[in-house]
């Protein structure tokens, strides 16, 4: 009974958000295009033969950056910007009355957006293969499934981090600037612009203790067939989720106590 209700809620939420997202197809297509920075980086790497020094062949490196592009496409999170707008506009109050945590709504929004984005990402990958035919490969089914799981876990980690930042909206009005600050290490350390193997030793010694390499580098290495520690990576991802989730619950319950609606 209860599980049925939850299922129905989730299904309805997803359906509503998906039709919502379909209205802005061009928006999402453009957003997909804006994620092509990894390809520019690939161009620098191969054009200057930089990959020779880290012992990765051209084909493997281009696969890596393609996978990094894909992982990024399906782990983009913007919950803090939506939540900030809603809380500034006072839209959070009606959400709080409903018997559903508003973050489920945002979560469904993100999933629906990913479904809408999927065909555009495929089209971009298709063009990528036209320009780089030597990098075509077919990952085996187990690897494909595992990398989808790890991409989803990466999405979850980022969603939790951003939700925690979003909850700061209860205290300060502009939480998005904190998110922009956090985005910088994510950009440079996650492996979106350069694979983590190429990092100098003094960074590599501590980077695997942070969540960053598990956001893009690990799933991308897994999918592209580069060397990586599969069980270690997955367990670190799960560990981070277990660390972040209680923190989110705590800050959420503290924040809702603190919340005063517009005009009260």
């Amino acid at each position: 009974m209860i599980s049925n209700l939850i299922k129905r809620k989730i299904f309805t939420l997803l359906k509503v958000q998906y039709s919502n997202m379909l209205e802005y197809r061009v928006e999402i297509a453009l957003w997909a295009i804006s994620g092509i920075i990894p390809f520019f980086m690939l161009n620098i790497w191969t054009n200057n033969n930089l990959n020779e020094s880290i012992n990765i062949s051209d084909a493997l490196l281009s696969r890596y950056f393609l996978c990094a592009f894909f992982v990024r496409q399906f782990s983009v999170v913007w919950v803090v910007f939506s939540f900030e707008e809603d809380s500034l506009m006072g839209k959070v109050s009606p959400y709080l009355i409903q018997p559903l945590n508003p973050f489920f709504r945002y979560f469904a929004q993100h999933l629906a957006e990913q479904i809408t984005r999927f065909p555009f990402a495929l089209i971009i990958a298709f063009f990528f293969f036209i320009f780089n035919p030597e990098s075509i490969w077919i990952p085996n089914l187990v690897i494909l499934l595992l990398s989808i799981v790890s991409t989803f876990l990466s999405f979850l980690i980022q969603f939790l981090i951003q939700s925690i930042v979003a909850c700061l909206c209860f205290w300060t009005e502009k939480a998005s600037s904190i998110e922009r600050l956090l985005f910088i290490p994510t950009l440079f350390l996650s492996g979106l612009l350069a694979p983590v193997v190429s990092f100098p030793a003094y960074v590599k010694s501590w980077i695997y203790l942070t969540p960053f390499p598990y956001l893009i580098d690990f799933p991308a290495n897994l999918l592209s067939g580069n060397e990586t520690n599969i069980s270690g990576g997955l367990s670190m991802q799960i560990l981070w989720i277990f660390l972040l989730f209680p923190l989110f619950k705590k800050i959420w319950s503290e924040g809702t106590k603190k919340y005063t609606a517009m005009g009260s």
Binding site: Y24, E27, S34, G35, I44, L50, S53
Partner: protein, 264 residues
């Protein structure tokens, strides 16, 4: 007379937007840390590229730093003026408030482009100049009058090109209503301005000098600093900048003919 009026109006703009932005003082501090981290991150990325290579696209590390400095200055200018103002066009059109702008006895492009200011961008500009002076010392560049004039000409041309690109994209909102993400696409393309043009493959180089002249924005001023620039390149940049400014102006006047306010 007319000019004096515009200067007077601009002073008012400055006053009001500074007053409203300075309410969020911690925000400015967070933005400064973001700018510093972002610069550190890009230098880190650059150092990865130069780990085992002396040259990237014919540029040494110390020379490539000049590009970073110029990029940081331009990015600061973008964050101070272009970003807060031109993203506002989207809002004006969605909410129909562009009517109020068009009705004012003042040039609409002037109003829309300069209304707001984001003071945290100043800090980024200063950061960029700091790095630039450091680079001048490292590369032992002689400061003389002709060098100073040439570098300020090329830098201001870059600013004009950058402004026109932003303004172009924002103007298309009149037809497409939501071009928020088109700006994201431009932003991701501008990202390649952090690296010397020669480090990219031939086809990308053509794309970024003919279609979207990002090549002109950072590489040519940096070449001027290193004393490598040829006269025709500087002349070309001036011509491109003039062309872009004039067309963006014409495009705006053309576009507002198609503007029908929110409920008509």
């Amino acid at each position: 007379m007319n000019l004096r009026k515009y200067i007077k109006v601009y002073k008012k703009f400055l006053h009001t937007s500074l007053a409203s932005e300075l309410e969020y003082k911690t925000n400015i501090l967070v933005d400064l840390i973001t700018a510093i981290l972002s610069l550190v991150g890009s230098i880190f990325l650059l150092s990865i590229f130069f780990q085992n290579n002396g040259y990237i696209g014919g540029w040494k590390f110390e020379e490539a730093l000049i590009i970073q400095a110029i990029y940081t200055i331009l990015n600061g200018i973008t964050n101070t003026w272009f970003n807060p103002n031109l993203t506002e066009i989207v809002k004006h059109i969605r909410e129909g408030t562009l009517d109020f702008v068009l009705l004012k006895p003042i040039d609409s492009q002037f109003f829309i482009s300069l209304k707001k200011i984001n003071p945290s961008g100043f800090l980024e500009i200063m950061l960029g100049f700091l790095l630039l002076f450091l680079c001048i010392r490292i590369n032992q560049i002689n400061l003389n009058l002709s060098f100073l004039t040439l570098s300020s000409i090329t830098l201001s041309c870059s600013i004009f090109i950058l402004y026109s690109l932003w303004f172009f994209i924002s103007t298309t909102t009149i037809w497409f209503v939501k071009t928020w993400n088109a700006i994201e696409v431009l932003r991701s393309f501008l990202y390649i301005g952090r690296f010397p043009l020669n480090s990219f493959s031939f086809s990308l180089r053509i794309f970024f000098s003919v279609f979207i002249p990002i090549a002109f924005i950072t590489t040519i001023p940096s070449e001027v600093f290193l004393g490598l620039s040829v006269l025709w390149k500087i002349l070309l940049e001036v011509i491109v900048a003039a062309l872009f400014l004039i067309t963006s102006r014409k495009f705006w006047l053309f576009a507002i003919k198609f503007y029908s306010s929110a409920s008509s």
